[in-house]
Symmetry: C2
Subunit: 79 residues, 2 copies
């Protein structure tokens, strides 16, 4: 079973990486970039073959390690 976890900073949380990308794009001559937010995506390859069990397992992984739920939100996609 494969799963993809998307982790993004919550709205309102300052995103210095995104700001850095935005100003670098401006410096390269790309006008009209109004906002940039950067997040991460984690692809997991799981031995578990039952989709529901695997998804519950991935949710636990997100809560415990993959996302900092104080400032980040996550979305799980089972493939």
């Amino acid at each position: 079973m494969k799963a993809k976890v998307h982790v993004m900073l919550k709205p309102g949380v300052l995103d210095p990486q995104g700001e850095a990308v935005k100003s670098a794009l401006g410096a390269l001559g790309f006008d009209g970039v109004e906002g940039v937010r950067q997040g991460k995506v984690i692809e997991l390859d799981l031995a578990e073959s039952d989709a529901a069990t695997a998804e519950a397992q991935v949710e636990q992984m997100c809560e415990k390690l993959l996302a900092n739920t104080v400032i980040e939100s996550y979305r799980i996609e089972m493939l």
Copy 2:
């Protein structure tokens, strides 16, 4: 126009971040994690309203800044 860029290491390129996550998951008691790859996702908010022009612009951004095309592949998703 909003765009999302997914940047992943190409297959075969060593992913130390993914390996670190994999061993951390193992240490937390999550068995059956066979592989982990970590990538990034960049959300762009563009002033351009024409989808084709915006996509061409984002492709240029990927080639020039957002992805290291020697070791990374990218996928553009227009929202």
